[in-house]
């Protein structure tokens, strides 16, 4: 019970944009009027700061929020994003923290202490520095001889950097192996690597987890709510279209995926990825802590006709998970050229006005259960 109450407090706001909280208006008191008006005028729904996102693009775009407070904020205000090392809410850091704490208190059987790791890390740093000095000396030597063109220097520098990096890896692995020869070697090793990566030189836990946003979430947060430090047209043009101006299949897919996402979000659903069910989205009425998702959504182009087995598989998967399969058909009602032009001119809302959704529920039906 208390958990639900605290959840109700924690997840009070369904969106990262909060409504204005105005003071109470007392009719007979003119001061209260003035104060109210003042609050209204100065008040603003906008976030104090824009949330920073890092966009990693190696063929596939990954959008990450790495600031701890921002991660928490986006999760708590509408369940946006997924912790990369957690089931959904980014809780990895807290797990690590409590694990190390309990180890320090001696409650868990100590496999390795924080100090040990810290010691290794320091050793490692010293050795690494030594190596780096060697490299620098080598370079200096070459330069003095005057045998280097700037291009060559860059090349060698790159080579040496790569070597150093490799040294760092090997060094770490070797050290840990050497120092810990005992019965349960493998387990030790695992923990050592894991923890060595987790603890920094000052003995603090490093945050390895970031909150990853789906492209549609990123669009929603930047375009509809304007809480990210990326603009929607930049995001679409630079990251999703690779600056090309063709109406590609990929662009079309992104646009219809977003149309569906926005449609459900804006009617109050908490929309999350349905990858585990092989579907595009699942819909929660409020959010994961409150109840199971009731719907699985597949987003389809309105002209789409899949092989029958596709529908049959999806209906079975959903049926097995007690969810209703919703086929969300998105229809393009403006020409491709027109939409491209809207995007180019930064009229993102007009681009999305060019889509309309229609919905169909697909359910297996058993005659014997529907006879009487």
């Amino acid at each position: 019970m208390s958990k639900r109450v605290s959840n109700a407090v924690r997840y009070k706001n369904p969106l990262p944009i909060h409504p204005l909280e105005l003071p109470e208006l007392i009719i007979h008191n003119p001061v209260s009027w003035v104060y109210w008006t003042y609050c209204y005028i100065t008040g603003c729904n906008t976030l104090q700061h824009k949330i920073h996102v890092d966009i990693v693009n190696n063929g596939i775009v990954h959008i990450e929020v790495r600031n701890q407070d921002d991660m928490k904020y986006l999760w708590e205000n509408g369940f946006f994003g997924t912790g990369q090392l957690s089931r959904s809410e980014p809780t990895w850091y807290n797990h690590m923290q409590s694990r190390f704490q309990s180890e320090e208190n001696g409650t868990a059987d100590k496999k390795i202490s924080l100090e040990q790791v810290t010691k290794f890390r320091r050793q490692q740093r010293t050795e690494f520095k030594k190596q780096r000095e060697l490299v620098e000396a080598k370079l200096l030597n070459l330069r003095k001889k005057g045998e280097l063109s700037p291009e060559e220097e860059t090349r060698i520098l790159e080579q040496e950097r790569e070597k150093l990096r490799k040294f760092k890896d090997d060094q770490l692995a070797l050290h840990l192996l050497k120092e810990n020869r005992n019965d349960n070697l493998e387990e030790q090793e695992r923990l050592l690597i894991q923890e060595a990566e987790v603890i920094n030189e000052n003995g603090e836990i490093r945050q390895l987890e970031s909150l990853e946003l789906m492209p549609v979430e990123t669009l929603f947060l930047s375009f509809a709510l304007d809480v990210l430090d990326v603009t929607p047209s930049d995001f679409i043009i630079k990251h999703c279209m690779d600056n090309s101006f063709d109406y590609t299949d990929e662009l079309h897919k992104l646009l219809i995926q977003y149309s569906a996402y926005h449609h459900y979000r804006s009617h109050g659903w908490c929309v999350r990825s349905g990858i585990k069910f092989g579907s595009d989205y699942i819909l929660y009425k409020r959010g994961p802590p409150f109840q199971h998702a009731d719907f699985c959504v597949m987003v389809l182009d309105s002209n789409c006709s899949k092989p029958y087995t596709w529908y049959s598989t999806m209906a079975r998967v959903c049926g097995g998970a007690n969810k209703t399969l919703l086929l969300c058909y998105v229809e393009r009602i403006n020409s491709k050229e027109q939409i491209l032009q809207y995007i180019r001119q930064g009229h993102i809302s007009k681009a999305f006005n060019s889509f309309t959704v229609g919905e169909v529920i697909y359910k297996r039906w058993v005659p014997g259960k529907n006879r009487d």
Binding site: N45, H262, Y264, S266, H267, S305, K350, N353, V366, R371
Partner: protein, 477 residues
Amino acid sequence: MSTATNQDTDLNLDEDEVIQDWSDISKIQNDNPILSIPKRGEKDYEPDGTDIQELLLYRAKKAMFDTLENSVRGSTSKSQVKGYYIPDKHIAMVPYAKGNFVQSMGETDKDGTLWLHFFEFLYLAERGTITPFWKAYGNNVELPLSIEDLYSYFKTQKEMDNFSIYAHLKRLGFIVRSSDQYIITKNNTSFYPPMNFKSYTIGSMRNIINRISSTFTYTGISLFNGIIFSQWHFYLRRYRSSPDIYESLNKLISYHKIPHSITDLRHEYSSLKRSTSNSTPTSLHITFNIWKPNPTFKKKYPELPDYQVVTYNKNMTNQSFPTFNELEALFRSLDYKFNFIEHSSNTDFWNKNTYNNGVLREDILNDLTNNARNKNKQPKIVTKKPTENKNKKPGKELPPHIQQLKRLKNGYRSFLLAIMDNGIVSFAKISEADFGSENVWYVPPPKGTIGRPNKNWRKTNKSKDNHRKEKEQSEIK
């Protein structure tokens, strides 16, 4: 091979995993009408080379083939009903029809001769209810036909598939009739009132309005989108509640408007009737109307069907699953007991909203009753039945958020897709849905009540549309 079990949700207990233990067949022969569905049997994981497994398999096969061999089709000469195939028309006639099937199958002419569609004829022949003959040269030559003969008269795969689906549903006790073919006269049963002159003029007025509004099949594209979806948005507007924010966000993506009520349905119908360009070509159309088993069924004045069936062969390379436009066309062509309408479980309601050949069904039933009374006979058809409210306790409405979830999960108009896969028949229910006219956003409780959130978070979100309904419901309370 396929069956109806009530184990739908449990994937492990699916149709094909219900072991076909043919030794159980004795339990379900015709004289024992209560079907005992064989238990989920103990099948093995894989062949293990043991004798006992061999023996079990041998027995299973033997039981199956013994049953097939001993199950002979036909009837005694006393109960024999002769049916005659008419090749030119690909139908059959039964001059002296008797038996339960007459009530719901075929068409009976003034002389009492029963005319059957080919699929009905074959179905009855296959169960041994009628004896099929080829009749030539008047009554002089009667050639008895075999099942193999009859199958060779199928013209297309579609026809053969339709037959299998028909037989599948019939065996389960449904009343099934063709929705698009007729032999003698087309008995038309419709939810929609006929278009007479008067309603035509009214209709055409309405039509103009509809045409204007149908330009916007998609609802409310706001002119203010430009502001809402700009970086100035939250500087220019002040939102005092989350619902307000949602309201402005949900103007972006338009959605298809679909009928939710009787009025909506009739509007759509009358506007579609007049616009000719509206029939989207589709390979699929409604093939069967089906009714749940009903002893008072009248084939001349049927009620609206409980379901409508579209048949589909998943393996035919020239058939493909309908696209959204084709699905829409199918939804628009539906004419059945729209079970999403309120009171849809009420017989009287449907008698007031069904037209048999253009005449209100209620009037037909009254006439029949009166005629019967005049002749001092028992009324044949009971007009006033106690309202069927099996599952609903009157006066106990479900809370709004549950009602909403039901609407969302069941959708609106629906048809059954019967899928044929090489002799295996299965079904899917395909429904129109409308998430665009429902809002499920969370309304935070007013300040100070956070400690007791339960009461308030039931009262979800209201779009203006829903507001009225929910108000009514709270008044009922």
